[in-house]
């Protein structure tokens, strides 16, 4: 039987091509994902693993620094790392050297004022000379280390990129105006972060503390053990002096390295899982096509298979031969897919490189054994499993079928069972979705489960749905395209199962695409309204990478001519009503001019009295009204009560709790400024915009955004996320196209005689072509319409579960985009039919009429 299977594969090369391609694309996706994540992961590890070779134990203080927005300021009561601490540790037995390190974001501008390096990986630190006046961590290639305020050293790559030499003036910026500094030295470092191209600026320790942290404090202390002291022993020594408690952690280099690795693996496995999920979708789509192909091949070979049975082959042998055929294709296609996947992995890597610039880490291409095994096993399994049902059906062909002549009646086995099952599953799914959607955020799992059931149910029901849905477009097709249109429509519903399997492949992709699109549009709508409804200011001044804006810039903005009102919008974090909460701060005097807070009780004037405003949700939760008091533990460690001065409707710009900046400072908070809101005398103007940019003092990170800019930012973020999803789903759509090509090719082959007759009685070639093309378009559109419907419904249901988290969320249907998808689906049908329709038109009339 093996030889029969082999012969069959060879004999039907053309018809199996699409199946093989579908399997190949799926496995290529799987392999590509794994190759890419392995390669990218190893490169990332090289780039991000900090240099742990320089010290044995590290004491870190996560409470130090103003680098993060939501710094836990209650930690300020706890001990921090000071010069004294460093001395204390240095004096411990077994310690060779203890260095206090300050580390924070620092941007370096090139000569034209643009930031060198990208993202938050541009760092600044302190140059800590040992007794010999040199810092062994940073050997100087030229010049000397920075010793005074206004002096810096740069790593060699950055200095080269910026064209700087020792003695040049270099502008650096943290979160305030840019500073002019003198470059005193250029150093080399084997730290992986520097060697992967991220700028590193060194200050003298006092300046670094002042600029990046708080005078007298360190982020961490790197402790080097004396010869013969193990990391573990050293850690024990250090912990005696400085307990591993609060925001202080004491870790050995080994522990840090292990943790780093675990963190990276965690992050990478998340990315890998997501990509593999999309690969899974493509493979799932592939199942429909493979099953469809084998069903058709077996239908065409009925007589042949019956002959095998008639001359003595057992059922098992017939099933076996079909499965072996599938196995052969699976193996061939998977190997091809694996090779293509390695190519995809390499391509993705260089794509990342070109998209993100020199910043992306690079490294050798890694094809692990797991990749090879996973790609081959999935490819082969998917193919064989998809062929199981057709193979079983093949074994049920009675031997007598070999003797019957002429057309075998197509088995119109009742779809009754199928339809009942489908209706039950789909109905159950819909019920679950509706239930989950009305249950709010608790209903997420109900909606997810319901969505899966509804999808499966719909797929089961597609054959039933095909007739009425396609009949809807019937009159239109007939009127527009005459006989070709009419025949196309009828051909499309001729074999409901096949049409269903073909359309389902497209339905999957379009369901996901349209659900994501509707969700994106809905969320976009909320954010859009959030900006319009909550921001009265004309401009928002902030720093990129989420850095807090320094008080100098805030003050400079307030002094800028043409500004009538401005206020820093700040964030603090302390205990209110028994729970640590984020509290927004706004200048009481400017609040009404820059912010639109809709009060349901009380007034914004209460801010000026040092009172607390809460949003309606907190008010409801804690049963607060105007005049209620809540206990609070302030950032300076003191306790007290706050009086509620008003209740406002949910506002996306501010936290649920809002106070005045003045009151916050009074209570010892050192709030970080997220954004400075500015109201101009004459509204938005390019002059004001430029003046505000200037207020940033040449800081290369300054961003001055109008309301429209903010809206555009939100929508471009959403658009980016959507585009990425579209890209990943494109693969499954591609597989679906192969399915349409396959089905149309098979249909043309099976209907050879009809096509011959139509040609004989006077349908010309273009008429035949049009007939095939239209059928393909009708099937594609049918799949697309189902997908769009399901997708919109799903998005609506998901919105229901999100409504509590995102107030004001309503389902927005982006009709333009949905229509575009429908149009694209039609195009898919046209493209898929190019080759089958050409074949149909070229058929020889006489051969076709005589074809059995």
């Amino acid at each position: 039987m093996f030889r029969t299977a082999l012969r069959n594969v060879l004999a039907h090369k053309g018809r199996l091509l699409m199946t093989a391609l579908a399997v190949m694309l799926g496995t290529a996706f799987v392999a590509g994902t794994m190759v890419f994540s392995d390669t990218f992961g190893s490169a990332l590890k090289n780039s991000y693993s900090k240099d742990f070779g320089n010290f044995s134990v590290q004491v870190a203080d996560s409470g130090a620094g103003n680098d993060t927005r939501t710094a836990d300021l209650t930690g300020s009561a706890a001990p921090h790392l000071s010069t004294g601490t460093v001395g204390q540790i240095a004096a411990l037995p077994g310690v060779a050297r203890a260095v206090g390190v300050v580390d924070g974001f620092t941007a370096v501008a090139d000569k034209s004022g643009k930031a060198l390096g990208q993202g938050r990986d541009s760092r600044g630190s302190n140059y800590a000379p040992a007794t010999n006046g040199q810092d062994p961590r940073y050997p100087m290639a030229a010049g000397r280390g920075p010793q005074h305020t206004g002096e810096i050293a740069l790593d060699r790559a950055t200095a080269d990129k910026g064209g700087y030499r020792v003695g040049d003036t270099v502008r650096v910026a943290i979160n305030g105006p840019a500073r002019s500094t003198t470059l005193t030295g250029i150093f080399t470092s084997d730290s992986p972060q520097v060697s992967s191209g991220n700028p590193l600026v060194l200050f003298d320790t006092a300046s670094a503390q002042q600029l990046l942290l708080t005078p007298g404090q360190f982020d961490r202390i790197e402790v080097t053990g004396a010869a013969g002291t193990s990391q573990q022993a050293l850690q024990d020594e250090v912990v005696k002096v400085l307990p591993d408690a609060g925001s202080i952690t004491v870790k050995t280099a080994q522990q840090l390295q292990d943790q780093e690795k675990a963190d990276l693996d965690g992050a990478l496995s998340g990315m890998r899982t997501m990509l593999l999920a999309f690969a899974g979708i493509s493979l799932f789509v592939g199942i429909f096509i493979i099953a469809n192909t084998f069903t058709m091949l077996i239908a065409q070979r009925t007589r042949e298979l019956a002959l095998l049975r008639a001359i003595g082959a057992s059922r098992r042998q017939v099933t076996g031969s079909v499965l072996v055929e599938a196995l052969l294709i699976g193996v061939l296609a998977s190997v091809a897919g694996l090779l293509a996947g390695v190519g995809i992995g390499a391509g993705l890597q260089s794509l990342m490189g070109s998209l993100a610039g020199a910043d992306t880490p690079s490294g050798p291409l890694i094809v692990g054994p797991a990749t090879v095994v996973a790609a081959l096993v999935t490819g082969v399994l998917v193919t064989v499993v998809s062929a199981v049902l057709p193979a079983l059906r093949a074994s049920r062909i009675p031997p007598v079928a070999a003797m019957s002549s002429g057309e075998l009646p197509s088995t119109q086995k009742g779809l009754l069972v199928r339809n009942s099952v489908g209706a039950m599953v789909a109905g159950g799914g819909l019920a679950l979705i509706l239930w989950g959607s009305s249950a709010g955020s608790n209903g997420k799992w109900l909606v997810a489960g319901g969505a899966v059931a509804a999808l499966i149910g719909t797929f089961v029901l597609i054959p039933l749905l095909s007739r009425p849905l396609i009949a809807l477009v019937g009159p239109l097709l007939g009127r527009l395209f005459g006989v070709s249109g009419k025949l196309a429509r009828q051909n499309a519903v001729r074999n409901p199962r096949r049409t269903a399997a073909t359309a389902a492949a497209l339905t999957i992709g379009l369901t996901l695409v349209s659900a994501l699109t509707v969700l994106g549009a809905s969320v976009n709508g909320v954010l859009d309204r959030a900006v319009t409804d909550t921001m009265k200011a004309d401009y928002a001044v902030e720093l990129s990478h989420g850095l807090s804006v320094s008080p100098e810039i805030t003050a400079q903005v307030a002094r800028t001519p043409g500004v009538t009102a401005s206020s820093a919008l700040t964030g603090s974090y302390f205990e209110v009503a028994g729970q640590k909460r984020a509290v927004s701060g706004i200048d009481a005097a400017a609040a009404d001019q820059v912010l639109h807070v809709k009060l349901t009780a009380g007034s914004t004037a209460a801010l000026g009295q040092g009172r607390l405003l809460v949003n309606d949700q907190v008010a409801k939760e804690k049963a607060l009204t105007v005049g209620s008091t809540v206990p609070a533990v302030f950032p300076d460690g003191s306790t007290g009560t706050l009086t509620v001065g008003g209740v406002f409707a949910e506002n996306h710009l501010v936290n649920p709790l809002l106070m005045s900046n003045e009151a916050l400072v009074r209570h010892g908070a050192a709030p970080s400024t997220d954004v400075v809101l500015v109201k101009g005398a004459g509204g938005e103007s390019s002059a004001l915009h430029q003046a505000l940019v200037d207020a940033g003092g040449d800081n290369p990170l300054i961003k001055v955004d109008s309301k429209q800019d903010l809206r555009d930012q939100f929508s471009s973020q959403i658009a980016f996320a959507l585009n990425m999803m579209y890209g990943l789903l494109a693969m499954s759509v591609l597989v679906a196209i192969l399915g349409v090509v396959n089905t149309m090719a098979m249909s043309v082959f099976e209907r050879k005689r009809e096509i011959g007759m139509l040609r004989a009685i006077g349908l010309n070639r273009s008429g035949v072509k049009r007939m095939v093309r239209l059928e393909s378009v009708v099937i594609s559109l049918f799949g697309a319409v189902l997908g769009l419907g399901l997708g919109c419904f799903l998005a609506w249901a998901v919105n229901g579960t999100l409504r509590n988290d995102l107030t004001g969320l309503t389902t927005v249907l982006p009709f333009g985009k949905l229509a575009l998808f429908l149009g694209l689906a039609g195009l898919v049908g046209l493209v898929a039919a190019i080759w089958p329709s050409r074949r149909a038109a070229k058929l020889d009339i006489l051969d076709s009429i005589k074809a059995a």
Binding site: G406, L487, L758, A760, I761, G762, I845
Partner: protein, 257 residues
Amino acid sequence: MTTTTATAVGTGRAAARATGLSKVYGAGETRVVALDDVSVEFHQGEFTAIMGPSGSGKSTLMHCMAGLDTVSAGSATIGEVELVGLRDKQLTQLRRDRIGFVFQAFNLLPTLTALENITLPMDIAGRKVDKAWLDSVVDTVGLSGRLSHRPAQLSGGQQQRVACARALAGRPEIIFADEPTGNLDSRSGAEILGFLRNSVRELGQTVVMVTHDAVAASYADRVVFLADGRIVDQLAAPTADSVLDRMRRFDAKGRTN
């Protein structure tokens, strides 16, 4: 043996004519001459049968004259139109507008109802259906009650009657029927042949039928005999016996040759 030009026994002008028609397949050692310099005329209002043993070229002759196949040499005309040299588009239009077909294997579209199958050629052409004519055709073939049935719901004889009605409905200049009774039992076959003869007698239709069945041929006004790609004889007002008799003679001749 001399080339016989089969001339009409009936009256009127030629609906279709072949002059020196040759059809050669392959080349070199695999060269097969299917038609060898055949000249024949099919007259308007005449029911002609083309007979001959398997491989005699009778189907090829029909295909060439109906514009379904190309010719190697000679000429074939439908009415005044020369088929040789026509492009596919023109041939398709000619078949659509001037020729009707009845095939051995019925060749109906399973997705269309009987009525839709009958009007298919007009639909393709975008022509209006002549209602009165259609009714009379449907009546003639006796399908009135079954027009909304699909082919799968009809018997073989009924399906072939639909095919006949389809050929007649467009009032073509000539109908070519290729073994129309080949797949039918004798009773259904007799009915079909009756319709074809009636369409000639009563509606003035021109019909050319290829068959190897002497009984079927006996329904025709004239039988043209083909053997080895040549026309070897013809017989007017045939009966089953006279046709069989002629056939036997060719057979004997073939063996003695």
